[in-house]
């Protein structure tokens, strides 16, 4: 790896940040323009029928024939037929707030069967009580996942790593959900599963990079944080790309061999894995760098006001920064101060841990 060029990922931080913000913003606007999310019956109660139809029919024909039977609009979707499925299948979504949803299902079933153009193969129904419960459950689920992850990374790394990771996760989630809203894809329980899987996956990438950053901060003879981050991201780049590739290979095979909600799930994962890979390379590590710089500047400010020692350090920083070639040469052991800086951090951290441990012991 040492012979590889170091890619200056952090150089265009601002560009990528603004790009992400712009994308999230426009997706949000588009979602609002399209009338919000297309909630599935999981969250807005109703009935979905899975039907099979003859070769001759299509979505439009079905909508025209079935639509007039009901007061509320009927959503007809083609369950993308792959070569593996012999028959054409469609889903018919009927929203209903009716309390006794089972009766509604029976009536609708009769109406549709009377038309004699499709054969009902399956049905799903969710009552208003249940969908309210599912909405509540989703919030609990998502929040608890995020909080637990925050706590774990805080425990294993430091708080600002955890915050950076969570921001990156929010970034992934917003983009994924934005795409779902913009293209009016079904927003169902499976979508939540997809979002949480993407969170887990993207975090996986992020942590591998963080791990390397932490390690390099202790071992590299430079204190230029930007270099360390770039070096770490480059070092883990092939791993990030290969894992994304194998995951995408697997998810693509789900996409091609499933139908309906599982196929949609695969599509959401494809988007999520791609965005997650991007965010762990460009967003998460850049955020750690950003926070680190802020912390350091804060400390330097303190030191400066105390003595004049800070001046020498900033020049030291410059002296080890990389040449524009982007090649990380053999860096001589730089002035001891910058190293001390990170060593001091480590010392502080271990001391804090030791104190905590002692406190715990005292409590016992």
């Amino acid at each position: 790896m040492t012979a590889t060029k170091i890619i200056r990922f952090t150089k265009y931080n601002k560009l990528f940040f603004s790009l992400s913000v712009a994308v999230i913003f426009s997706l949000a606007v588009l979602t609002v323009l399209r009338g919000g999310f297309n909630f599935s019956i999981d969250f807005s109660s109703g009935v979905i029928f899975t039907v099979r139809a003859d070769e001759g029919t299509d979505v439009r024909a079905l909508s025209e024939k079935i639509g007039p039977l009901f007061d509320k609009p009927v959503q007809v979707q083609s369950l993308v037929d792959s070569a593996l499925f012999n028959t054409k299948r469609y889903s018919l979504k009927l929203a209903s707030e009716q309390g006794n949803i089972a009766d509604f299902e029976k009536e609708s079933r009769k109406k549709i069967e009377a038309l004699d153009i499709v054969e009902i193969e399956g049905s799903d129904l969710v009552s208003p009580t249940q969908s309210a419960y599912l909405r509540w459950q989703t919030w609990v689920l998502t929040l608890s996942v995020l909080v637990l992850i925050l706590l774990y990374i805080w425990y294993r790394f430091q708080l600002h790593y955890a915050i950076a990771a969570i921001v990156a996760l929010l970034h992934d989630t917003l983009i994924l959900v934005g795409v779902i809203g913009t293209f009016q894809l079904d927003f169902s329980g499976t979508t939540i599963a997809a979002v949480l899987t993407v969170i887990g996956y993207s975090l996986n990438d992020t942590i591998v990079v963080f791990d390397r950053i932490r390690e390099n901060r202790m071992t590299m003879y430079t204190s230029n944080l930007q270099d360390i981050v770039d070096y770490s991201v480059t070092g883990t780049l092939s791993r990030t790309l290969i894992t994304s590739l194998t995951t995408l290979l697997a998810v693509l095979s789900i996409y091609f061999f499933a139908y309906g909600s599982v196929q949609l799930f695969a599509l959401e994962l494809i988007i999520g894995v791609t965005v997650g890979t991007y965010s762990s390379i460009y967003i998460a590590s850049a955020l750690v760098l950003f926070f680190d710089m802020r912390i350091r500047r804060g400390k330097e400010g303190l030191v400066k006001s105390g003595s004049g020692a800070g001046a020498g350090r900033s020049s030291g920083l410059k002296s080890v920064s990389l040449k524009s070639s982007g090649q990380l040469g053999i860096v001589k052991k730089a002035e001891s101060e910058p190293v001390k800086q990170s060593a001091e951090e480590i010392r502080l951290a271990t001391e804090a841990k030791r104190r905590k441990r002692e406190e715990r012991r005292k409590k016992k």
Binding site: T2, E105, Q130, A193, L196, I199
Partner: protein, 615 residues
Amino acid sequence: MGKISRFSIVLVSIALALWGLYPSIWWYFVATDEEQSYANMTRTTLAEELRQATETDVLEFQKLSYEDKNALAKDVLGKDQAYILDVAKRYRENYRDVEKPDSWTLEAIGRMFGGDEAGRELMRESLEDYKLEQILVYRSRKNSALRLGLDLNGGQSVMVRPNPDEFAAEVDELLAESNQGRQEIEGYLQNRIVASLQSRIDQFGLTEPEIYSYQDGRIEIVMPSQNKVAGQTDTGVVETLLQVKGSLEFHLVNEQETEKLSSYLNVNPLKSRELSETGELKDYKLPAGQVIRGYYEKDKYAMDRLRGYLVLESETLLDGENVTNARMDKDNVGQWEIGYNLNQDGAAKQQKIFTNNPGRLMAIVLDKRVLSYPRISDNAGSGGSYSGGRIKGRFSDREATNLVNVLNSGNLPVAMDIDSQRVVGATLGEESIRSGLIGIAIGLLAVVLFMVFYYRSAGFIADVALVLNLFFLIAILATMNSTLTLTGIAGIILTIGMSVDANVIIYERIKEELFSGKSRKAAIEVGFSRAFWTIIDANITTGIAAICLALFGNGGIRGFAITLAWGIVCSLFTVLFVARLIFDFNTDVLKCKKLAIMWRKISSGNNSQQSLGGV
């Protein structure tokens, strides 16, 4: 740890996994259609089927005996009756005082059980026990096999909850007449609802519905597809199951007619097969307004066994709607007695019955089967109250519980609201499972080929780990008795893609170490140890997401999350433990010096860059 002990751990895990997978393999690949249908039947249907099958076998045996009584059993018995010989031998084993025949001729077997009517019945019962034991083995295998979810198998599932208003009203009512706390009453009522649904299950012929009760009061009823061929699901089943009114009835027993009937049946034993649904026997005259019903007792396998026939007066005295609540108590001599409460209408009716028919037998009939026939005692209505009653008798624990459940099953105490429902046609399920399996195969193939292509022989080791990972994963899912759904399959495929990640992290590390000039052994050593915590951290966070999904998610999502969570555990084991072992084996035993892990050559010039630090 030495290589040998590590290797033994791997072997033991593989053996355990095979053991866990055995029932699933048997159920899906070995079991015949007949064995499967026997295992799927409700106990009631099974008891009926068994009785008829063994009756036929006994008749066949008798026919063969008439033809040639000295023929050897093993020569003349057909495929379906061959087990009679085994049963006879076992019977001899169990009853040593029975003389061992010189040769197992048909006559010898017949004589062993006794040639008369009772002997025939004894033989039939022995055959029935033998078959039942086999079927119970099928059942236990089926129950420990990996289940297929609704979306793969077809069928219907409903999630119901007690109507909150009715539930609250019922709780208040019960609270008023008892001294227990609200929470206990709620728990009791919930259990009663579930028990009531459970005892109704038996009415549903060929496939047993499953009932799951959740903490929050919801109840899920899963009804697998009844008929695979037609691809249709019987949507009526759940409706019947949830009907408030059950088929519980009370009838008076006509003792005289019952005696007449039993002596008639003793002479004509096979006649009983001609008993119609309406309770009439062909060629047997009953006085008007009388019906014949079978009397059943639950045996030790909780199967309803036919014990005889009763003649009942067809007028229904009380029905399930009248019974509001039944419970079991110990009386002052420690015997179980079953108490039941009646509503106003029921109390009025009971008063009339009791005063008009003291000392007669009253049959409790569920779904046209007599399950108990206590005698009406003279002082039943003592204290002037007929709003309830007590049934006394020498009940065992099992019998008492059964009777309480039967009385309670008469009507659901509260109506149930349907929260969600799912119906999947069997054809749709079949196509889903086929495409799911192809999805797994293609995904696996793509990843396996990629790894070999990119990492060469090290990639092959990763592939071995990957395949083992899948094997362990499926074995764990089967052992945990979990249900495989389409989303679960998606979880498996995702595991295929993500679990090579651990390999990738390690291999990229090893590559770096090789570049810095380390030997094969040292590079592997450092690669694995450096990557260890990264892999743990990365997987724990994915695990957090998966576990939360498994805990809070519903239905399909839970299946996905469980698969994903176990996929993580299995991949950690196969990569960190098994793959490492293979590497070490190649280094130490096969004396490999080089490591084929990449296409690029390591130029010696790179050594000078070692000083960059242990990256």
